[in-house]
Every structure is written in structure tokens, then in C-alpha cells.
């Protein structure tokens, strides 16, 4: 094994993962896991660490004996292995240990500070992952053995978006598509023209305003990278623009979710706002997951807006190329400007959406892998404690503020101990199902009214109703697995991208780009906030 020394760090990490998996298997860590509230993921921790550890050791051993090559196995597995395992270990440590610890510490510090650090800064595993990536790269630096693998983050994030395609319905995509085309179209073009106008006012060169307008208007650093060669941007203009966008983006990643929570935005509203107002596309995904990392509603909306922005990129490149080329006499081909800039991964997203829509992952009657089963079933009943709580609340008049339909739904839930149709109609499947679904919709309305503070319900009552609804919501195993993978892909991708944000890049912020960027960025964020609150009201997601 001539190169075993070179791959020692990877072998050690693989070994540690296997040892950890074996320790978890013995159950020694169970009390600590219970303290951290991660015991439900005990099986996952064991399986994942044993499998990943095994694969890593095999890969590192192959690397130790095999000459580096250019095959698919080499490029996509053997060479990036070190970086992949480093990011995975970080993701596991953050998800299973750091985030729960931050949560516990925030709860303990709340009486002292007067606010919950975890909630205010949205320090979930995604945000912590990005911060850990940024911290690592700007302190010790990315270890040499991990350099190639860290670059995989871009590919992995694209895979996450492709997988997300399986979670949309035609109705969602159509509705969100309309919103996003209008909002993104307005704000992309509006910001591009605002920056070009500001450039004119401040008498800045066209190359600078061109590159800044794309970055501020479309999708941040990605647009800057795509447009800089087209408008022949000078080195300082590129450096200042990228620095400004990165700094602004990182601030947005923390500020947006906090403002979103304070303003009481729903997932659709926040996803639309983040997807429109945040400059950098990676930070849109991060902010969406920071707003809500438990379910993926916000991410679904934000990514549609992200994709729409990316689809605008070739158009903006074409517009700026024409605008810049007119003066410089430079001629650019349609292929080099539009075809080469088209984000191919969007085709993958649409493919997964199409495959899911024709029922390849779950039966066509299911709604994106989820279906509602309101038939009689012991397993869909609420627990005895919940049933008692609901009964007592009804007797105490806690439901007096409900409308007659909602009240009837709650009464029926207490009567049947589950959400279902009428017993007498059980032989007519369609009617039975329709009545059951209508009751579920009424109960969802009760929870929504409680959330909007239109009525007051105790947390136990809300929890009971929530559980009753959850019991009849079934999920396809394929879709659940795909979603779990997707969340890990996003976490992996965002940690890896965090590792590519250097202090040096951020501190390039300055010059006229920071003046014009701050004016355009704040205007875009503030205007889109009000427009989203005003326009995006109905929730189409399920």
C-alpha cells in the first residue's frame, strides 16, 4: 500500500464512524441521546455511520493501492472521498449533537437573556452547518485531503434540487410558477434597471454597473460569474461586486428568517420573499431551511423562485451582452450567451417532477406521495390521553368560539376517536371519504384559527387535533426516503458551499459596488416583503 499514509486521515474518519456506530448499537449512548432528544434517530445513526464508515474505509484502501485515474469512479467517488466524508461527519455531528446542544443551551439562557438565541437566530442544523463550513475554511483551512471533495458540494446541491422535483404537484407548480414568474420577473428586471440607473447617476463605468446589476438582480455571485466575461468587468469591479453580494447574502441569511417569523409569514409567503429578495441563490435555500427545517414547504416555494431566477439568467446575460456589445462593438453568439448558460440541472428537476406526476414513486391517487386515509382503522385513532383531553375541553366549553362546521368536526372526532366519515355511510366509499376529508379540513381550519390567535386552545388540545390529522395523512415510503436523502443532500451541499466562502472574498466588499449594492439590495428586500405580504395569501401547498 504505497500511498496509505496520504489517505490516513480518511481511513481514521472511516474507522471512527464504524466505532461510533458500534457504540450506538450497544445502547451506551441512549441516556445522552434522550437528553439531547435525538434517541428517535438512534437506528439511523447506527446504520448510517456503519454503512458510511465501511464505504469510506474501502474507498480509502482502494485509493492507497490504485493509481489515480480519470474514470467516473475516480472523479465522482475516489478522488473526492476525503471531502465527502469530512462534510458528512460535520453534518452528522451538527445534526445529532451541535443543534440539540444549541437548543438546550438557548432554552437555559432564555431567562437570563430574555430571548431564545436558537429561535431568534434560527440556528438549526443548516445554518450551523454553513457557519461551521465558513469557520473551518477561514481558520484552519480546508485540509488537503478534502479539497477535491468540497468542490462536490455544488453537484450535491443540484442533486438535492433535482430530488425536490418529486415533491411538487401540477397544481403547486402551476400556481407557484405564475407567482414566481411575475414576482421574479418584476424584481429581477427592476433591480437590474435600478442598478444601471444608479450607475448612470454616479457616473460609473458600464462594465461595473453591468456586472453589479446582474449580481444584485438575478442570482448573486452566480450571475456575476456568468456576466463578468460578457461585460469585460475589471478585476476590482468583480472583486468588489462579489464581496458585496457575499456579505449582503450572509446578513440576509440570518435577518430574513427572523423578520419572517416576526411578521408571522406562512411558508409560502416566506419562500416567495426569500426567493425574491435574497441575492445569492445558495443563501435562498439556506434561509428557507433556516425558517423551517422540519418540513420542506418553505424550501419547495423558495426553490421554485430560485429556479425561475436562474431561468432569467440567460435572458439577462443576453440583454447585458447586447447593451454592452453595442458600445464596445463586441459580437457574441447566441450559443455562448444563452445555451452555455442554461442550467442543465433544471431538466433533471423537471424529469423527477414528471416521473413523480405519472406515479412512478407513489400511486397516482396519492398527492405527491401523501394520501389521506379516513377509513376506520385502530391505528389512526388518537391516544386515550388525547381523547380524554379533547372530551374535557369540550365539556369545559373550550370550543365555544368555533363555527358550527368546525364544532361538528371536533364532536365527531371525540365520538369516533379518529377522523373518518359517517359509520352509516361506510359502504359508499366516495361519500364516506368525502365526509372524512371535509372533517379533516375543518380541523385544519381550527388549528389555523388558533395559530392566527382567532381563538384560544390549550397546547394539549392543539396537540391532540394535530395528531388526529397526522394519523390519517399517510406517506409513500419511496417519497419519504427520497425526501430524507434530499434533506441530507441540501445539508451536505450547504456545508460544502460554506467552506467556499472565504474571509478574503467577503472583505473585498467596497468601492461604488457597496454603495449601489446596498441601495439596490435593501430596496429589493423591502419592496418584495410588502408585495409578497400583499399578493401571496393563499396556501396551495399540501
Amino acid at each position: 500500500m504505497p500511498r496509505v499514509k496520504d489517505h490516513m486521515p480518511v481511513l481514521i474518519m472511516g474507522g471512527l464512524l464504524i466505532i461510533y456506530g458500534l457504540i450506538v448499537k450497544t445502547g451506551i449512548l441512549l441516556p445522552m441521546m434522550k437528553y439531547l432528544h435525538t434517541h428517535k434517530a438512534m437506528d439511523l445513526q447506527m446504520t448510517l455511520t456503519l454503512i458510511v464508515g465501511g464505504i469510506v474505509i474501502v474507498g480509502a484502501l482502494i485509493n492507497s493501492v490504485k493509481e489515480p485515474g480519470n474514470s467516473i469512479l475516480d472523479r465522482f467517488f475516489l478522488q473526492p472521498l476525503g471531502g465527502i466524508v469530512l462534510i458528512l461527519v460535520m453534518a452528522m455531528a451538527i445534526r445529532w449533537y451541535l443543534e440539540p446542544l444549541v437548543k438546550i443551551m438557548s432554552d437555559s439562557l432564555q431567562p437570563l437573556l430574555g430571548f431564545n438565541v436558537y429561535k431568534v437566530l434560527n440556528l438549526n442544523y443548516v445554518v450551523l452547518g454553513i457557519l461551521a463550513g465558513v469557520l473551518l475554511t477561514n481558520t484552519w483551512g480546508i485540509p488537503k485531503f478534502a479539497e477535491a471533495g468540497v468542490k462536490c458540494a455544488r453537484f450535491v446541491l443540484k442533486m438535492g434540487v433535482i430530488m425536490l422535483g418529486a415533491r411538487y404537484s401540477f397544481a403547486e407548480l402551476a400556481k407557484l410558477g405564475v407567482y414566481s414568474v411575475w414576482l421574479v420577473g418584476f424584481f429581477v428586471l427592476g433591480t437590474v434597471f435600478l442598478v444601471l440607473w444608479l450607475g448612470n447617476i454616479f457616473k460609473q463605468p458600464k462594465s461595473m454597473t453591468g456586472v453589479l446589476s446582474a449580481g444584485m438582480g438575478v442570482c448573486g455571485v452566480s450571475a456575476t460569474v456568468a456576466v463578468a466575461p460578457v461585460v469585460k468587468a475589471k478585476s476590482a469591479e468583480m472583486a468588489y461586486t462579489i464581496g458585496t453580494i457575499l456579505s449582503f447574502g450572509i446578513i440576509c441569511m440570518f435577518v430574513f428568517p427572523t423578520i419572517g417569523h416576526m411578521a408571522g409569514m406562512n411558508p409560502v409567503q416566506f419562500g416567495a420573499w426569500a426567493g425574491t429578495g435574497i441575492l445569492n441563490s445558495a443563501q435562498v435555500a439556506a434561509a428557507a431551511l433556516a425558517f423551517n427545517a422540519v418540513d420542506i414547504k418553505t424550501l419547495k416555494v423558495a426553490e421554485i423562485f430560485n429556479i425561475t431566477r436562474v431561468l432569467f439568467l440567460p435572458i439577462i446575460v443576453l440583454v447585458l451582452a447586447t447593451w454592452f456589445g453595442k458600445e464596445s462593438g463586441q459580437k457574441l453568439s447566441f450559443k455562448s450567451v444563452v445555451i452555455d448558460k442554461f442550467p442543465i440541472f433544471i431538466l433533471g428537476f423537471l424529469l423527477l417532477f414528471g416521473m413523480s406526476s405519472v406515479g412512478m414513486f407513489s400511486p397516482p391517487s396519492h398527492y405527491k406521495g401523501q394520501y389521506i386515509d379516513v377509513s376506520y382503522n385502530d391505528r389512526t385513532q388518537v391516544t386515550s390521553e388525547e381523547w380524554e383531553t379533547l372530551k374535557k375541553a369540550m365539556a369545559a366549553g373550550e370550543f365555544s368560539a368555533l363555527n358550527p362546521e368546525q364544532l361538528a368536526a371536533v364532536e365527531n372526532l371525540i365520538e369516533q376517536r379518529q377522523i373518518a366519515g359517517n359509520y352509516a355511510e361506510r359502504n359508499d366509499g366516495k361519500v364516506f371519504d368525502r365526509v372524512g376529508r371535509a372533517r379533516m379540513a375543518e380541523l385544519e381550519g381550527v388549528l389555523a384559527a388558533a395559530k392566527a390567535k382567532e381563538l384560544t386552545l390549550s397546547s394539549d388540545v392543539k396537540s391532540g387535533i394535530k395528531h388526529a390529522i397526522k394519523q390519517v395523512h399517510k406517506k409513500s415510503k419511496t417519497i419519504v426516503t427520497l425526501t430524507d436523502f434530499m434533506i441530507w443532500f441540501f445539508a451536505f451541499g450547504l456545508i460544502g458551499l460554506g467552506m467556499q466562502i472565504t474571509k478574503k472574498a467577503i472583505t473585498q466588499a467596497g468601492g461604488w459596488p457597496i454603495v449601489m449594492g446596498v441601495i439596490a439590495g435593501i430596496t429589493k428586500a423591502a419592496l418584495s416583503f410588502f408585495v409578497v405580504l400583499w399578493l401571496v395569501k393563499d396556501v396551495v401547498l399540501n
Binding site: 472583486a239 462579489i242 445569492n280 473585498q508 467596497g510 468601492g511
Partner: protein
């Protein structure tokens, strides 16, 4: 720190004649500090006809990290961006060299070199390769922060703790 080193070298330079050096590597990227080094070398040191001067300008390898967290573009777009950066920075470096030649007649005899890499490592590698016996750089300049007129290229500083352990020959910091 830079101030101390500068003073120290000056004390040395008064006792040990600078005429003892044969090949000087002047590192410049056209900033205010670097221009002080250019002036010091071409006005005061080139009186020695035996002193050969090589002017080194480095294309900072950290440009590769300036794509930041961009994940949307293809590798083709990334390559096009980095090619553009290289061409653009090379053009700006050529302008700087022309300015040096126009400002200092003595610079006509100098050899101009452009290299890509990490700053400290590249300076010492080139000095070793060319068998330079003296390296000259500009003094520490106070950061301009978000100064509105800006400068060319990436804002970067030479770090003493990175450069000093690698030095193959004496380092002169121009006042």
C-alpha cells in the same frame, strides 16, 4: 510589525552596503505601498550597474475562491470566468509595468515577470529559482476599508508570519 522590520533593515543597510547584492526581486502589484518599493529600488538602488532587477507581479491564486458559493453555473461558465479574470488581470499588470517603465528610466533594464500562486510562497519560490539575493516589498499600508475609489485586483496583504519562515534571502521593506 512591518515598521520594526523596516527600521531594522535600514539600520543594516547603513552598515552593509547594498552594492553587495547582485540580483534584486522587486515585488509589486501597483498599490501605494508597492509604488514606494518601486521608487526606492529604481531611484536609489539601481545606481549600482551590477545590480540586476527582476520585477515580480503575482496573480493571486485566491481568485479561484472568488466564485464563492456559486453552485448554479456549469464548470464551463466557471472556466470562462477564471479565463476572463486571468486575461483581465494580465492586462492590468501589463499597464502597471508600462507605468513603471514610463516613470523610471532605470526600469528599462529590468526583467518583468508574472506568476500565479499564493503570494508569500510565489515570492520565495521565484527568488530561489532566479537566485535572487534580495527581495524588496512595499511597507505596510493602513486598510482603506470601504474606500470608495477602490484599487485594482484583490485586496490582499503579505503576512509576515507566512513570508518570513520561507525567505531564501534578506528582505528589504521600502520606507
Amino acid at each position: 510589525m512591518a515598521g520594526h522590520v523596516s527600521a531594522m533593515v535600514f539600520l543594516v543597510s547603513q552598515k552593509v552596503s547594498l552594492f553587495m547584492f547582485k540580483h534584486l526581486l522587486l515585488c509589486t502589484h501597483g498599490t501605494e505601498g508597492a509604488q514606494k518599493a518601486e521608487a526606492f529600488v529604481f531611484k536609489q538602488l539601481t545606481a549600482d550597474p551590477n545590480l540586476k532587477v527582476s520585477v515580480l507581479t503575482i496573480l493571486d491564486e485566491d481568485w479561484r475562491m472568488m466564485t464563492g458559493d456559486d453552485w448554479l453555473n456549469s464548470s464551463k461558465t466557471h472556466t470562462a470566468f477564471l479565463d476572463h479574470v486571468e486575461a483581465q488581470v494580465s492586462e492590468e499588470i501589463a499597464e502597471e509595468w508600462q507605468r513603471i517603465r514610463d516613470t523610471y528610466p532605470a526600469a528599462a533594464q529590468a526583467v518583468f515577470l508574472q506568476r500565479t500562486g499564493a503570494i508569500a510562497e510565489t515570492i520565495t519560490r521565484v527568488a530561489e529559482k532566479l537566485h535572487c539575493d534580495l527581495i524588496a516589498i512595499g511597507p505596510y499600508q493602513k486598510s482603506k476599508g470601504l474606500f470608495i475609489h477602490g484599487e485594482k485586483g484583490l485586496r490582499a496583504r503579505i503576512k509576515n508570519d507566512t513570508l518570513h519562515p520561507l525567505l531564501p534571502c534578506p528582505l528589504l521593506i521600502a520606507p
